[in-house]
């Protein structure tokens, strides 16, 4: 018989407002095995924790039930509290009477009644709890960063600085990501390349960083501290170790009509190419979709001109397998496709461009050499219309995204400002729903655009853009002026919403990391654990977790790195003790459990058992490796004899909860 203490938390008024905490602690005091029951304003406060510890000692408690907020919030806290008082931390159960009771009910009577039942269920469970001791597993002291944009680079640099080896896997031929395509950065207007390329070089030169460009993660196995990752190194048909990046091949390649993705298809590149001058690694890559040699077997120009002999048409994809202790997802974002927004005539006129395309058109290294020219006729535009929130903040429907893409207001202000600065003869209109500028020096920046640079900010949505006689007829409403506007524009720039990179979803599946409905990675806790995924050992960096600007990204990248460093600096990890275990006396050895185990934690041995009349029976029985088992419980249901059970969530415990709830 356990001696159980019950501690009911008011959570200020969060619980106490809809749950009569006194009634709950009184009711639970009458439950079998409960020797102490009380309520307190903030159980998680130091005073509350002290109270729990004192009670454990005074009453010799063998079990503790805390009726409070979600166990996802403070289970760990209370476990630690009890451990300090000498009670096994797994003798603690939390009854969630805040998120799943007080916050969802308005009627105090109902809330109180439910809280008592939830408390009873927790008490019933604690009766069957057994002290558990966590095992240990070693940590592979190497990290994997998936994605080589600014987020990935910064994370890798920080981890490497702390002395741990780190691999960056980047699907493109070069690291750098979206930031390489950006011209200037807000609100300081310094050149993106100037601040990014040194970091890229740092990454390349850091002894602890190993860049696996033009590579993709193929599969992930294992668990925190012990991941095994298979990485596909795509064939680039150029020997990375030999290529000097001289670029001769990219000049001689006869296949000149390949849309240049670095410039978003605004110009062309060759079939063998280096994405841009500062690429890291600065190695040429053959695009197999366009290379005549690879497609027809005839050409071989690049091979002839390459003095280093780096060209290898026979190169194959290579799969490499590596061990990591931690994985950081930094898969970044993309602007959404404009297919569904043809009211802005994106598909009809080349002069309707997205903001990222506009970045390229303004960039000195871009297709126009930094001169703003209309893509259609190469003339200088005089009237520009910027449309905000294209695909952002769309509630419902399939057209856009429900969220705010966060960066558009600022980069549009930047674009408008830069346009007006370079070409004061232009008229610049910005149509917006709201202008959101919550950031250091952000609002000042925006106001400069309006006040100093004379950008016309108009609150209202653009209804339609119609290309007509070389002009773009923009129909819009001015909400403040209460009138319909018609503007004959030369160019229209769409602030396309951003969305997570398409590779994130399959990656999340491999990592068993959860995602939200928009395919952004879910953080373990939105406030308290913003850079960790709920899956232990998987961390989040940059826009894959949610829309971010560069400063936020870099900050989060550093935070993720700090978490990784914290993990890798441990020699041993404490395992989850809530693992499966097999009762050998009942095990049939049928292998059903082994088949459903996602971690390969179950093996079989032949073991001798005492049979009747002093005989020995040899039976095949399952054994669980507690360091590998993650405690999902799939095996417990696959097992027909019930030999397999899960510590901490045993059949008996769950059924006791069921009984208490249904009573």
């Amino acid at each position: 018989m356990q001696k159980i203490g019950v501690f009911v938390c008011w959570c200020g008024s969060n619980i106490a407002a809809t749950v009569d905490v006194q009634a709950v602690s009184d009711a639970l005091a009458k439950e079998p095995g409960v020797v102490f029951s009380t309520n307190y304003q903030y159980m998680c406060s130091q005073a509350g924790q002290d109270m729990i510890q004192d009670t454990i000692k005074e009453y010799g408690l063998t079990g503790v039930v805390v009726c409070s907020c979600s166990p996802r919030m403070h289970e760990a806290t209370f476990r630690k509290t009890c451990e300090k008082a000498g009670l096994n931390p797994y003798m603690v159960e939390i009854a969630n009477i805040r998120e799943q009771c007080s916050w969802i009910h308005k009627d105090k009577e109902t809330g109180t009644e439910k809280a008592i039942i939830l408390g009873r269920a927790a008490i019933a469970k604690v009766h069957l709890n057994a002290p558990l001791t966590a095992g240990q597993s070693p940590v592979t002291k190497r990290a994997l960063v998936i994605g080589g944009g600014i987020a990935g680079i910064q994370t890798a640099l920080d981890i490497a600085e702390a002395g741990f080896p780190v691999d960056i896997v980047e699907t493109k031929p070069t690291i750098g990501g979206k930031m390489t395509q950006i011209d200037k950065t807000f609100p300081t207007l310094d050149c993106a390349a100037c601040i990014l390329t040194p970091k890229m070089v740092d990454a390349a030169q850091n002894e602890n960083i190993n860049i696996l460009s033009y590579s993709e993660v193929e599969s992930v196995k294992g668990f925190v501290g012990n991941f095994t990752v298979t990485i596909r190194r795509k064939a680039r048909y150029v020997d990375e170790t030999k290529c000097t990046g001289c670029g001769l091949c990219t000049e001689k390649c006869p296949q000149k009509k390949v849309p240049n993705e670095f410039n978003l298809g605004l110009d062309n590149r060759r079939a063998i190419y280096i994405p841009f001058a500062q690429a890291v690694p600065k190695v040429a890559t053959i695009d197999p979709n366009y290379c005549t040699m690879l497609k027809t077997g005839k050409c071989g120009v690049c091979s002839k001109v390459c003095t280093a002999g780096a060209i290898d048409y026979k190169q194959q994809d290579e799969l490499i397998e590596r061990e990591y202790g931690a994985i950081v997802a930094a898969t970044g974002f993309n602007p959404i496709s404009m297919d569904k927004f043809d009211e802005f005539a994106y598909s009809q006129s080349p002069d309707v461009v997205t903001s990222l395309e506009f970045e390229r058109l303004m960039n000195a290294a871009g297709p126009t050499g930094g001169t703003l020219l209309r893509p259609s006729d190469g003339t200088h535009p005089h009237t520009l219309v910027f449309v905000q929130c294209v695909g952002s903040r769309c509630d419902g429907g399939e057209k856009g995204k429900p969220y705010c893409s966060k960066i558009c207001c600022m980069y549009t202000a930047k674009h408008a400002m830069l346009t007006r600065e370079k070409y004061p003869d232009t008229d610049v209109y910005v149509f917006y729903i709201d202008v959101r500028t919550p950031g250091k020096n952000f609002d000042e920046f925006y106001r400069r655009a309006v006040e100093e640079y004379g950008v016309h900010y108009i609150k209202g949505m653009v209804g339609k853009v119609v290309p007509e006689n070389g002009k773009l007829k923009v129909q819009a409403s001015d909400l403040l002026g209460g009138q319909q506007l018609h503007i004959d524009a030369d160019m229209v720039v769409l602030a396309a919403a951003i969305e997570p990179d398409k590779s994130a979803r399959p990656l999340a599946t491999m990592l068993t990391a959860s995602m939200d409905t928009n395919d952004f990675f879910t953080e373990a806790h939105p406030k308290l654990r913003p850079v960790e995924s709920p899956t232990a050992g998987v961390f989040l960096s940059g826009a894959c977790q949610g829309p971010k600007d560069i400063p936020d990204t870099v900050a989060q990248a550093g935070a993720a790195a700090a978490k990784v460093i914290g993990l890798l600096s441990k020699d041993q990890l404490t395992c989850n003790p809530c693992v499966a275990n097999s009762n050998e006396l009942m095990c049939n050895g049928c292998s059903a459990c082994e088949k459903v185990c996602p971690y390969g934690a179950i093996t079989y041995i032949d073991k001798d058992f005492r049979g009747p009349n002093r005989t020995t029976l040899r039976r095949r029985v399952a054994q669980v490796n507690p360091a590998v088992c993650q405690g999902c419980g799939a095996c417990t249901v696959a097992c027909p004899s019930g030999a397999m059970d899960l510590k901490g969530f045993s059949n008996a415990q769950i059924m006791a909860e069921v009984d208490a709830i249904c009573k």
Partner: protein, 145 residues
């Protein structure tokens, strides 16, 4: 069908720790209301749900049982909910085969971000079970005195 105003069904919701329990928390955080008849039991993964637990719940007086887990493909343990999906499909089909109201059992995938879906699902499920009335076909009268 006439809805019995008095009848408040007992609903047991088994929620996987990683998605649906968090989703339930989120609906709390967002103060989304659903009836107090719903009581949640936390399990590590939807694949932990043994059919015995469901029958046990009905035996002890539950009128409806719902399992919530991560969306297929999003299981924290990679594949758990796929197994749960097969098991529950077959179990529910069997209960239906025995003539037990199929509407009393349900599986719903609720992610950690779907607080609203959780609340909506519970509201809807409670309504369905309330319409069905008391569980008579899978009851244990010993537990109802």
């Amino acid at each position: 069908m006439q809805v019995n105003q008095e009848f408040k069904p007992t609903i047991v919701a088994f929620c996987c720790n990683w998605c649906s329990y968090a989703g339930a928390d989120l609906s709390g955080t967002n103060r989304l209301q659903y009836p107090a008849n719903v009581k949640i039991i936390r399990i590590p993964c939807s694949c932990r749900l043994n059919p015995m637990f469901i029958l046990r719940a009905f035996q002890r007086g539950a009128d409806g049982v719902i399992l919530c887990g991560c969306h297929p493909g999003d299981c924290h343990y990679t594949t758990g909910n796929y197994y749960a999906r097969r098991r529950m499909t077959l179990l529910f089909s069997m209960l239906d085969f025995l003539g037990i109201e199929r509407e009393r059992t349900r599986v719903e995938w609720v992610s950690a971000a779907e607080g609203a879906k959780f609340a909506a699902t519970m509201n809807e499920f409670v309504e369905t079970v309330t319409k069905l009335g008391e569980n008579k076909r899978l009851e244990d009268l010993r537990c109802k005195s």
